[in-house]
Symmetry: C2
Subunit: 213 residues, 2 copies
DNA sequence: TAGATAATTGAACAATGTATAATCATGTAC
DNA sequence: GTACATGATTATACATTGTTCAATTATCTA
């Protein structure tokens, strides 16, 4: 249901108006990103972006209701681009734990490369959580996590008594906490923290050790 | 180390300047809260609060750098007020799980009573997470959770291999996710969701069932 | 009492985000 | 192809947030 990468065929079918809209959006995103990289995200104002793209400020706001939306667009595009690779990596894994591990490793690598943008992105998505059903519904991670959890339940590695959707949401918030801790501590490595997080996700605080009943 | 409820003796020792500061802060918070209750949090502007309290806008901003800070102040005061009761309830519990349960039940009751303010409060605390070590460090829940987790480790109910601080943070973000889901779904009961969350916190997605080794 | 320190005020400022009327480009129906 | 509806763009104004600054007032300290 989400937006997809547009083939040339799709573009031809769209009509000039829609085609121009997409073009404008891409142009705005590009100009914004250039500015972000040049002078730093925080320093860039919406006015500056509009000027760089040579449109009125109102036009910019029409397509991107906030500066963070420009990051979200970028990230979304990248997610769509990498979706197939990530899914295949997950499918090729020998078990659910490794599948998650591979997905999270790729995500960690991406996050390390885009560190400066993670915080504004996350808070933006979170603040708009009231509207969407799930704050990270558009995120490509959520549906993948859900699928893997369901598979885990089939395999018997994950308790079938717990609602898969609910488990997915818990994982998403564990991931959020992990990301924020990583952002706060410059010396940490996100992929390592994800490993610890995954262990906790599967075994909980009890840690897989059973108390004598 | 955090702010404490002020006894009269404390106030006498403070000096007029500090005494007036506290007085102003309380006055501002009161005026703001009255407005929030009268016309709804979203509708109230900082200017309106300043006018109601009969101070310059700059003065209001000096004490409360954002509208959300007025909620945070309120909540903090209430937390301090209830701290002893909550702690005693936790101490009186027969085990760690029940201790958490009692604490979270009280918190749930409080949240249900203050539903309208939870979302802005949470996002505000979260956005200021870069500064503080932990986004909910000033929260009275964090240190209590940490203490209970350490106790759980002593009792052998919680794996001693995992860092208590790290576990506490995980619980805090599970709690965050739970709160946001509760906010999104008006039909849900927060206390019930906390129960499920706690079960997950202890046993993980595996759910306490061991796979055949 | 004198001088340092902190709080308050009023004003201006930069930026965000919303709203509106006028204008221009595109789509659709005839 | 013309006519009309619809969507996008522009310029502008507006309310609000949050910051800054110089001038003033109140408190503290020596």
């Amino acid at each position: 249901m989400g937006p997809k990468l547009l083939s040339n065929a799709d573009q031809a079918q769209m009509g000039r108006r829609e085609r121009k809209r997409v073009q404008t959006v891409q142009h705005l995103a590009e100009c914004a990103w250039n500015l972000f990289e040049q002078i730093g995200y925080e320093q860039v104002t919406m006015e500056a972006i509009a000027n760089a793209a040579d449109v009125a400020r109102g036009t910019l706001y029409k397509h991107f209701p906030a500066k963070e939306a420009l990051i979200a667009y970028r990230f979304r595009q990248d997610q769509i681009k990498h979706q197939a690779i990530v899914q295949n990596a997950a499918l090729a894994a020998p078990n659910i734990f490794d599948a998650f591990m591979r997905v999270l490793r790729m995500e960690a690598a991406y996050a390390e490369r885009n560190r400066d943008y993670i915080a504004p992105y996350v808070f933006y998505r979170l603040s708009n959580a009231q509207e969407n059903a799930n704050p990270f519904e558009n995120d490509s991670f959520a549906p993948l996590a859900l699928a893997l959890i369901r598979q885990g339940q089939v395999d018997g590695v994950i308790s079938a008594e717990q609602d898969a959707q609910s488990l997915a949401e818990k994982l998403i918030f564990l991931r959020l906490g992990t990301m924020l801790r990583w952002l706060r501590k410059p010396e940490t490595v996100l992929a390592d923290m994800y490993t610890e997080m995954l262990h906790f996700f599967f075994h909980g605080a009890e840690g897989g050790k059973r108390k004598i009943p």
